[in-house]
């Protein structure tokens, strides 16, 4: 019941100050310096509680970065800031060299090439798997086009290919609401892939998955890295160990440690944070 309350109160977003922009113009992201995302001194506070306090981070193009940290470290808030859901109080966030994400709204950021998967799998439950993926496909997403668009055969091919990739081939006509939890997670990842994003933000992608499903997800992610950049927030350390190259540890709104899994696992401060003082 409570979740419904927060849903109907529109205050859960910082929307008051963040109007949707008029035109969604996908621009090309400039990765000439090899870096796809910069966060510099980003700070956010909610009624005195400092969720992020001067967070700085950079992600290379094609990198797979794992982000770990105890509850309340600011992982979800960081994602909110990158995707335009929350406006930072100070600091800057750049996508590539030239795109200032703090000045863009969610659809613009999505069109620019950043895809996000939520903690709770969020798919269009009343639409079929096919429609879910088709809606996600990279295309002109303005109202005018939606009234006249016809399904191109290349679109159909693209959707079928993605369905194969996420293991949902043959489920095309099933309503997304009838899928299992793990399948919904995959469908959502599939929807992100359909967007053709440069950067994928994945919030606890293997939560609620069986071991087998987790393993297949790890393979999928590893195959995606290089072609896309990935930021994975995860608590499942086995999964992190399976995919991680560079790991960033967040604590109380800023970066505590960064490096390979071995390095951060042996960092004295990280051990303190995780094992308690």
């Amino acid at each position: 019941m409570w979740s419904h309350f927060s849903k109907s109160a529109p205050g859960t977003t910082s929307g008051g100050e963040a109007p949707y922009a008029h035109v969604l113009q996908p621009r090309q992201v400039d990765v000439s310096h090899g870096v796809i995302l910069y966060l510099e001194e980003v700070a956010v506070s909610f009624d005195g509680f400092k969720a992020l306090r001067g967070l700085s981070l950079s992600i290379d193009d094609g990198e797979l970065r794992c982000i770990i940290g105890p509850n309340g470290a600011g992982k979800t808030t960081m994602m909110d800031c990158i995707t335009g859901k929350t406006r930072p109080d100070s600091g800057s966030i750049f996508f590539g060299q030239g795109m200032d994400l703090t000045r863009m709204n969610e659809p613009e950021i999505a069109s620019a090439g950043i895809g996000r998967k939520f903690q709770k799998p969020t798919v269009f439950e009343h639409h079929t798997v096919f429609d879910n993926l088709e809606l996600a496909r990279k295309q002109d997403k303005r109202v005018r086009r939606s009234l006249t668009s016809h399904q191109a055969s290349e679109a159909r091919d693209q959707v079928c290919e993605t369905m194969k990739r996420i293991g949902l081939a043959g489920h095309a006509d099933l309503a997304a609401g009838t899928l299992s939890h793990g399948q919904k997670q995959w469908l959502e990842i599939g929807m992100l892939l359909m967007q053709g994003p440069r950067l994928l933000l994945l919030d606890e992608p293997v939560a609620g998955m069986t071991d087998d499903e987790t393993e297949r997800t790890a393979e999928l992610f590893l195959s995606l890295a290089g072609e896309h950049s990935l930021i994975v927030v995860e608590h499942d350390m086995a999964f992190v160990a399976r995919i991680a190259r560079t790991v960033t540890v967040l604590h109380e709104g800023c970066v505590l440690a960064e490096g390979s899994l071995d390095v951060v696992q042996n960092d004295q401060r990280v051990v303190e944070v995780y094992l308690g003082r």
Binding site: S3, F5, G11, F46, K120, T122
Partner: protein
Amino acid sequence: MCFCARANLDQALILKLAAQDSDEQIEAIHLLGSSGLGEALQVLKALSEGGLSVVPEQVFFFRGTQAIDAATGQVLPQAPENADTVIINNRVRAELEETLAGLKLLDADPEIRRRAALSLLNSPAAQQLPLIQKALARETDSGIRHLLEQTAAILNIQSPDVTVRLKAVQLLGQSNRANTRNVLQSILAAQTEPDENVRKAIQTALKSINNRLTLTEFLASMFTGISLGSILMLTALGLAITYGVMGVINMAHGEFLMVGAYATYAMQGWFRSHASLDQDAYLLAAIPAAFLAAALVGMALERTVVRWLYGRPLETLLATWGLSLALIQSARLLFGAQNVELANPSWMSGTLLLPWGLELPWNRMVIIGFSVLVLMLVWLMMNQTRMGLYVRAVTQNRPMAGCMGIHTGRIDTLAFGLGAGIAGLGGVALSQVTNVGPDMGQSYIVDSFMVVVLGGVGQLAGAVWAALGLGIATKFLEGWVGAVIAKIVVLVFIIVFIQRRPQGLFALKGRSVDLGG
């Protein structure tokens, strides 16, 4: 003129009262009135009540079974036979009523004198001037003296004598009344005043009145605003509780006001049918009755309908609207479609006069006090009792509260009953300032929704401040642009406000709880 205890009235004058010609009657009434005698008052009263009888050369009236000679005031041994009742037409009656009202200036009871002086001040009539001056000579109460002086001054301002006019204007300059200002302004506007000095004096007087009136009017608007706000608050508190706890907007909430008001009406009826009871106490008895009635209706609705719609707020909106229709129609069938009127208890009628001419009606003051009391009780209940703790727990995290062993279902019912009961108390308050009718709740529901929206859903403190703010803003706007435009302006303001701050005035910002659609 003579002020001795027993005086004889002029026989010829008394006989004129019974004359055929209305002009003669009026003249007699005026003369009798300006004598200011108690005996004259008695005779005029008898005339007004149709109890004055006439036989040739003698006018008399009855006191109980005794016949009394109007001129001498003596008891007649035997009522004369074949007497005619003295009949007066409407024009005479109007003059008579006015004179009678004027004579009240000489009454022994200062409260009656004060009221008479006040009504005279509001509609002064030139022929009353002698009477006023007579009353002034006798009056000892300074407040009443002031009223009388003002009235006399308003009449004297038309005097042919320049010095009298000048003095009158200076006196009026001390007034705090909007009426006085209007009188002076109309004289300036009509350009009938020939004397330069008097015109200047009028301007000075106007200036000083204006200075004082701005403050008085400000305080008066503030007061009516707070009183409107306090009723809004009683309505919105209940809404805020139910919205906070259950996340449902109850469209039938306004009808709980109506239930409370009709409970008050029923209580008044019950007291009237039991004459031995103190009639003024009906309102006190109505408070628990209204609370219980509204709370019971509320709990019944919660158990039968609202409970089954959790998690479907839009459907709840529609279902509770249906309930409100049924409640309104029930009230129509039970109590009739006509509005019913409730009498203020005597301790709530009248006004409190403050310096600067500020007049505060007692019923509104009592309502404000009552609302503050209810607010304090609700606050205590929410913060100091176990029930309040449970309600707050369920508001914040229902599943967790359930895990801790709180019967969330029972809390819902109780909270709904509490919200409804508070609205019922609002109904008691409302019944003292407006008429009670089956659809009275409807006119308050939009306003109280706006309070909840403005204050931030589920925020009690927000509801309180928003209610007061809205009440005061509405009343000030009414003063400038009229009631309808004021209402529209307020609604538009709220619609715009929500654009800027969708979470309301008092909602907490927080990290997003739920990302799904």
